[in-house]
């Protein structure tokens, strides 16, 4: 089959739409995640999405809903337990380890197909059906709408917390709301690239963008562009050789990151 035959297939089209939606959400959230130093939190949240998904598999409910529940619970837990920044790393580590262990236990108890199990860790975008897609699109719109509403104070609180507090910005509440948004987005990404590779969409594109510009708006636009390139490009590249989607998504994402680091280094030297 040529690439054009492959593009005609229903589930490939669904996968591409899902990837495009995810790329947008991950790209927009990314600069905030990097600025707020939440890469490890995203990783922890994604592991808990895996736990939620595994629990859902065991209970016979939709994996998507399980992942969503797991991530949101994780996000709220992290927000509440790690009040001090110095605590955050260790709190995430503790929760992450326990959640992963529980997830493995639940998968061991699950008697269904093993393909379902593996998919939670490494992603199975071609398994996304139209119900999943609907959940993905609706959740994404919700995440972007909430983010648009809290955008300015969240940005203020992220880059300049002292002065933000002085202006009455509810810094603590914003950090919990943002953690929940990240939780939802993470749960969605888990479906596509899997729990282990969420960082490739949520962190790497933003980190790359922030290497080459100091303008927050430009960084967000570039981050979306890079995330889209990685997500959609990764799928397109994986089609013909029949390679795992997640491997190519992370590879594209990482190449973009390396290039941006290079550009950033050259610029800084010449400046």
């Amino acid at each position: 089959m040529t690439i054009f035959d492959l593009l005609g297939i229903d589930f490939v089209q669904t996968a591409l739409i899902a990837a495009a939606v995810l790329g947008l959400v991950a790209g927009v959230l990314g600069p905030f995640i990097v600025t707020r130093r939440m890469a490890f939190a995203v990783h922890g949240t994604s592991e808990l999405a895996f736990t939620g998904g595994a629990a859902a598999l065991l209970l016979g409910i939709g994996v998507g809903y399980g992942a969503l529940a797991g991530s949101i619970i994780a996000a709220v837990l992290l927000g509440v337990l790690s009040r001090r920044e110095s605590d955050r790393d260790s709190v995430i580590g503790a929760i992450l380890a326990f959640g992963l262990g529980m997830g493995i236990l639940m998968l061991a108890l699950y008697k269904g197909r093993t393909k379902n199990k593996f998919g939670l860790l490494t992603g199975q975008i071609v398994g996304v059906d139209s119900t999943d897609l609907k959940l993905l699109v609706v959740s994404s719109i919700a995440v972007l709408a909430v983010l648009a509403f809290i955008y300015r104070p969240l940005f203020f609180a992220s880059v300049d917390p002292d002065v933000a507090i002085s202006r009455g910005v509810p810094v603590r509440w914003l950090s919990i709301v943002f953690a929940v948004l990240v939780g939802v987005a993470t749960a969605l990404s888990v479906q596509v690239v899997g729990a282990l590779l969420v960082l490739a969409l949520m962190i790497t594109p933003a980190a790359a963008a922030m290497r080459i510009t100091a303008s927050p708006l430009r960084a967000t636009l570039l981050s979306v562009l890079f995330a889209e390139t990685a997500a959609v490009g990764g799928i397109l590249l994986s089609l013909q050789p029949g390679l795992p989607v997640s491997a190519l998504v992370t590879a594209v994402s990482f190449v973009i990151y390396l290039v941006c680091r290079g550009i950033g280094a050259v610029r800084r030297r010449s400046a």
């Binding site: 600025t35 001090r84 917390p161 002065v163």
Partner: protein, 263 residues
């Protein structure tokens, strides 16, 4: 109209009284320095004025309300890779606390931000990554950030800390210029009076629940400070500097609103 007014203000945590019976009026254009050792309630006073901390009793009024306050924090090292330009920092001072994306009135916003940048002489580096600027440049941007909202009151929380002498002078002159031109009242928390001594109209000196308000001459003398500290303190004037000996009054200190809010 008085810019800041405190009447019978009391602030206490559990059994510890930071200050009680504090009556204070700061007039437009007045420069009030707030001095005192660590834990004497200087930062708490700021938090009260910012509306972040309710008084235990008494009243506080700020002309124009909370939104008319410009706040200048200590200079602190910013992350070099931070995706932020001086122009963005100043813009946040204008409307960063408002909900939404802020897509409307972008033109007017830009004009005001440009004007604030110009007024502190920061136009040249307004589009550079803020983490790469010097401490003095960053602190000029902080002044612009506080001015852009056209404040009636400026609260300065050790804004000169960790700056060299030349930059201390530049930053304090910018604050002074504003209060002379626009009649903005300045409340300046510091542990080091000398860099701003020529600008200071009055001093509020806080020590262990006791306080004294008055001109530098009235407060910064051996008798008054000895009474406040309840231990012999020697105040010496050398040229145009004031040296305080024996109070432990010049200790280094750092405090942040965030640190206090988190605890």
């Amino acid at each position: 109209m008085t810019a800041i007014s405190l009447r019978g203000a009391r602030l206490s945590y559990a059994d510890r009284v930071l200050w009680d019976g504090l009556d204070l009026d700061v007039e437009p254009g007045e420069f009030l320095a707030v001095l005192g050792p660590n834990g004497s309630g200087k930062t708490s006073l700021m938090r009260v004025l910012l509306g972040l901390q309710p008084l235990s009793s008494g009243t506080v009024t700020v002309a124009g309300g909370k939104e008319a306050i410009g706040y200048i924090p200590q200079q602190r090292a910013l992350d070099q890779s931070m995706t932020l330009r001086g122009r963005d920092l100043v813009g946040l001072g204008l409307d960063g606390y408002r909900w939404g994306l802020g897509l409307r009135h972008r033109r007017e916003r830009r004009i005001r931000v440009d004007a604030a940048l110009e007024s502190v002489g920061a136009t040249r580096y307004a589009d550079e990554p803020i983490g790469l600027l010097s401490g003095g440049e960053q602190q000029r941007l902080r002044v612009a950030q506080a001015l852009v909202g056209d404040p009636t009151v400026m609260l300065c929380d050790e804004p000169l800390l960790s700056l060299d002498l030349a930059n201390q002078r530049v930053v304090s002159e910018l604050i002074d210029k504003r209060r002379r031109e626009a009649g903005t009242a300045v409340l300046f928390v510091t542990h080091e009076l000398n860099p701003v001594l020529p600008l200071v109209d009055r001093v509020l000196y806080l020590v262990n629940g006791r306080f004294r308000v008055g001109t530098p001459e009235e407060v910064m003398n051996s008798r008054t400070l000895s009474e406040l500290y309840r231990t012999p303190v020697e105040v010496v004037r050398v040229r145009d500097q004031i040296l305080v000996v024996g109070a432990g009054a010049c200790e280094e200190q750092t405090h942040h609103l965030t640190a206090e809010a988190a605890s």
